[in-house]
Symmetry: C2
Subunit: 588 residues, 2 copies
């Protein structure tokens, strides 16, 4: 029996000797590498947190003591020690846990978390609730140095510091965000690491915290000693520990960014030096286009809120782009306002962001950007209904962005449209523009797109029919096309097929013209229906005789729901759509 | 001729002697007090910025050098010196400028700004655009200590520090937010003030900035000397100056919070010691209710993101509430996540926020709160179409909140409903709840509301009629009632009158029942139509024979548009609504 096999809860951990704890760490590391290489997932962050997690659960008494993990992509060791060991040791149970903390999984998990910079505020709330109720438990937030660039983390620190009671903030400093860190704060963290935490100039002390430094965040004995020293402390304290991202897996320690998150088989691939041959995708298309652009025009700058890899901005691109590339850290609010300021100053900013993260900057899109009508370009990646974790869904960006006045939000359906929109957006000076980068395989029309996108809100009629008009938005244009074909083949209906292009405005002339020889308009959108595109069409026709059928996602947080299930439940298969259309036609 | 009368642009200022500059400051102060007391507006912030603004425009060369004011409620002196003098000296022209910077007014104003903590990021963008284009101008952000609690400011600072080129951040530290400051940072600012900027522990240095301290932010000579010392600096620097909020108006210096913003006549009223007799309003109703609640239940805590006064949390309430009140600074993101954490820990948080500011926390509402289904209560004040500045509109909270899964967003129509909803929300443990606090005069039904709001999405039929059903949401229920009466009186139509109550879900049974003997459903909502309530009704009925007419605001940023104009242009007068209803009925 391995040491790990004895651990069914943190209580089992507390009975181990230091030698056994050391063995446990080795076993956990081996299991973690094995699993993550097989399933894919966050490798580096978890390898770096093994010893600290053991020490936390050794010293503190969870779930009575409360531990909140920021982003929680480093919570795999925590899961291994809190009753979910088999999800990491038994391949048959690998799928039994999510990649983030989840209260539905375990009482040791206090929140469902996947976005950055939230842990300190959430922990602050737990501490306040404790104080109101006269409790005495420890409240601990574990936050990475990368997450510290987020404004919410700072707002939380500012308040945590004056809480006046027990609050332990463990800063897991591995000198990395997803990619390299960016920002003034990181110079201070470096100074603190270099001075063994002794430098006078100390961000955490300036914010009002008591402070401890741990030079080796993989030294179990020292971790335990320091955690013991702050256990039951009566005021807020920061424990700043230096860890190594990817610790114990040589290839991950060498390639920290690449091993932040890996696909299945990523370890072997990297160790054997395989360079994956990438087919053209929307990431490479975007990168190639922007490379050409910044070489032609010195005003161009590409901005990433710390997710360059996910949006195709390779290390080579970043290096070559020089001043034409700015990683602002995990700081979407700043990224949007910064882009607006650049545009106001005559620059050509292109911000690249994932759908799930642009929602962190609603007020900046509204106030800093749209109200000021500055011509920045925002590229929204990964928008659409998907089987992602509940924390990383791409179904909300249409309601979020399209209801902001002055914004132009575009839904390209092909590579050519996408590039023409991007080109237009970067050349115009009147509108803040967002483009929902297509998701999935590259679709090419094979011919250049010469549309003038400055003539706003002109939908494209792709096939002219009658009775039924189908509006297929962005990613769902292909689905609309399929539905059209089926209607023709199966029911002899020659429907009109429309590419709406614009999510922020209606082609009122076209929609009115349809009234002449159509009686049903169908909308298909790859996102949540509530607040989305179809509702605008329904409102437009509300007091006319035109019938409207809207297809898209219902209002819900799905969690790793397979796409086939998701589509089926939302009536998004071609069969279901055709059937729904036919039943409306029969009724009316 | 006064000195001020000679100033038509900053160029005129640069010709003045130090003695004349001093006289100018006096004249500006007198004019400012006179105007603001007559028109209402931000008094304290502007009185504190007179000398610093003179010094900025004396040293720097705007608009070539670029000055960005945070929130910009302290930009009145800037307006006086940049061609808009008469808006402060000539009562007939008092209305000719807005209370915030506005590029449409002047080339010296670079952005329309009214929300907090944006200046550093916007200025960073201007600096980046300058560097891309090889410019040499100075870029200056002016930010108050209160604004420094906002996460966006921190994200901006973190990036400004590593910009590597000219960037001057003037921190206007008057030791006040709107009300008192809260947070660890403020202890550091105090330490810096007390040590004349010499303390080793220095937040700005820890963030990576060069640093200057000005002990007396009203000493023109010193201000000019320090600004000269950083002019054309080749790296980012913070100039931390200590000013006095309300400087030069004794009653404002004594009552800093009260004089942050005053109503017309506020100076005389305060000087004569008048205590305004306040009628019952939704602020006092809320305050009285929450006072009773926290006295009954020790788990209750009221949270304000630095706007206690606007939501009725008087200094007396705050003092008496003790641990049951938490001002978190201008930090809406933290406030929402903190509330979620408190609820998760068994507390009873009630966060009070203005409609225009809740949009600063969309991601926190979604991820930290709604996804976790924690039973926090969010009270949204000032929601509705209004004649406010473009930066403080209350028309976006329905699209923002009601499209987030798991949220329950309620629209009370009377005082009794409001209190019953609040009571229900604080007693239940299943839902994150937001309540749109009614805006305007208190409406009382005269009888207690015994509705069980836990039975979600049950609309209330207030009058049963036929043919036409009118759904009057929240603030607009009264309007719906008026329309009903007019329809009866003028057209003999006895309409069904419905109070929908819920903005986050539909009463599908009721809506289906209406199909039997109604042919038109009318929705009235006090907010933007795009993404709002009426669109959901239109979608629901889209493929049926029911006609739907939606009334609300169009998608736009209005700016101090009189309500009568706003209503007229949105077809929101009873006459217009009745007429629109009749023309649909005639057609169909």
């Amino acid at each position: 029996m391995t040491v790990l096999e004895k651990i069914n809860s943190p209580a089992d951990l507390k009975r181990l000797s230091m030698a056994e704890l050391t063995v446990l760490a080795e076993e956990m590391r081996a299991a973690l590498i094995r699993k993550v290489d097989m399933t894919g997932g966050h490798m580096g962050p978890n390898l770096g947190m093994i010893e600290a997690t053991i020490a936390l659960h050794y010293v503190f008494d969870a779930p009575s003591d409360k531990i909140v993990f920021d982003v929680s992509h480093q919570s795999y060791p925590h899961k291994m020690l809190t009753g979910r060991r088999e999800a990491f040791t038994n391949p048959e149970k690998y799928g039994s846990v999510s990649g983030y903390t989840n209260p539905a999984e375990s009482p040791y998990d206090l929140f469902t978390i996947g976005h950055t910079a939230t842990s300190v505020s959430l922990a602050c709330g737990l501490a306040k609730a404790r104080d109101l109720q006269g409790g005495k438990e420890n409240v601990i937030a574990v936050i990475g140095d990368g997450s510290l660039s987020g404004g919410e983390a700072y707002e939380g620190l500012n308040n945590a510091a004056v809480l006046g009671s027990n609050m332990i903030i463990v800063v897991n400093d591995n000198d990395m965000s997803i990619a390299a860190n960016h920002g003034g704060l990181y110079h201070n963290l470096k100074l603190l690491r270099e001075t063994n935490g002794q430098a006078d100039c100390n961000f955490f002390k300036a914010m009002g915290f008591d402070y401890r430094y741990i030079d080796d965040g993989h030294d179990l004995e020292n971790l335990i000693a320091v955690f013991r020293s702050v256990q039951n402390i009566n005021h807020p304290v920061v424990v700043h520990m230096h860890t190594i991202k990817g610790k114990g897996l040589a290839v991950a320690e060498r390639n920290k960014e690449q091993f932040h998150w890996i696909v299945p088989g990523g370890v072997e691939a990297a160790e054997s030096g395989q360079v994956p041959v990438m087919a053209e995708d929307y990431n490479s298309i975007t990168r190639d286009f922007l490379t050409r652009k910044y070489r032609e025009d010195h005003r161009v700058v590409v901005i990433s809120p710390a997710t360059p890899g996910a949006t195709g901005l390779t290390p080579a691109f970043r290096e070559q782009a020089g001043i034409h590339y700015a990683d602002v850290g995990i700081a979407e609010e700043h990224a949007v306002a910064f882009s607006s300021g650049i545009a106001a100053g005559g620059g050509k900013p292109v911000m690249m962001v994932l759908s799930s993260f642009i929602q962190r900057a609603y007020d900046q899109l509204s106030q800093d950007l749209a109200l000021n009508r500055n011509p920045a370009t925002i590229l929204v990646f990964w928008g659409g209904l998907s089987g992602a974790d509940a924390t990383h869904l791409g179904s909300f960006d249409i309601p979020l962005i399209s209801n902001i006045p002055n914004m132009v939000y575009l839904a390209p359906t092909t590579k050519e449209e996408y590039l023409a929109m991007l080109d237009w957006s970067m050349s115009q000076t009147e509108h803040p523009v967002a483009i929902r980068v297509p998701f999935g395989d590259v679709v090419s029309s094979g011919r250049p797109d010469t549309t003038n996108y400055g003539l706003l809100n002109r939908f494209k009629v792709m096939e002219k029919g009658k009775d039924v008009a189908i509006l297929g938005l962005g990613n769902f244009f292909g689905l609309a096309h399929t539905v059209c074909q089926r209607l023709a083949d199966e029911a002899g209906i020659r429907a009109t097929l429309i590419n709406p292009v614009y999510m922020t405005g209606l082609d009122r002339d076209l929609l009115n013209e349809l009234k002449a020889d159509h009686r049903l308009v169908v909308t298909l959108e790859d996102g949540q229906l509530d607040g989305g595109f179809g509702e605008k069409i329904a409102r437009f026709y509300g007091h006319s005789d035109m019938k409207v059928l809207t297809f898209g996602g219902r209002k819900e947080f799905t969690d790793r729901m397979p796409e086939s299930v998701l589509y089926e439940r939302n009536h998004l298969t071609p069969e279901q759509i055709v059937s729904d259309i036919q039943s409306v036609l029969k009724r009316g």
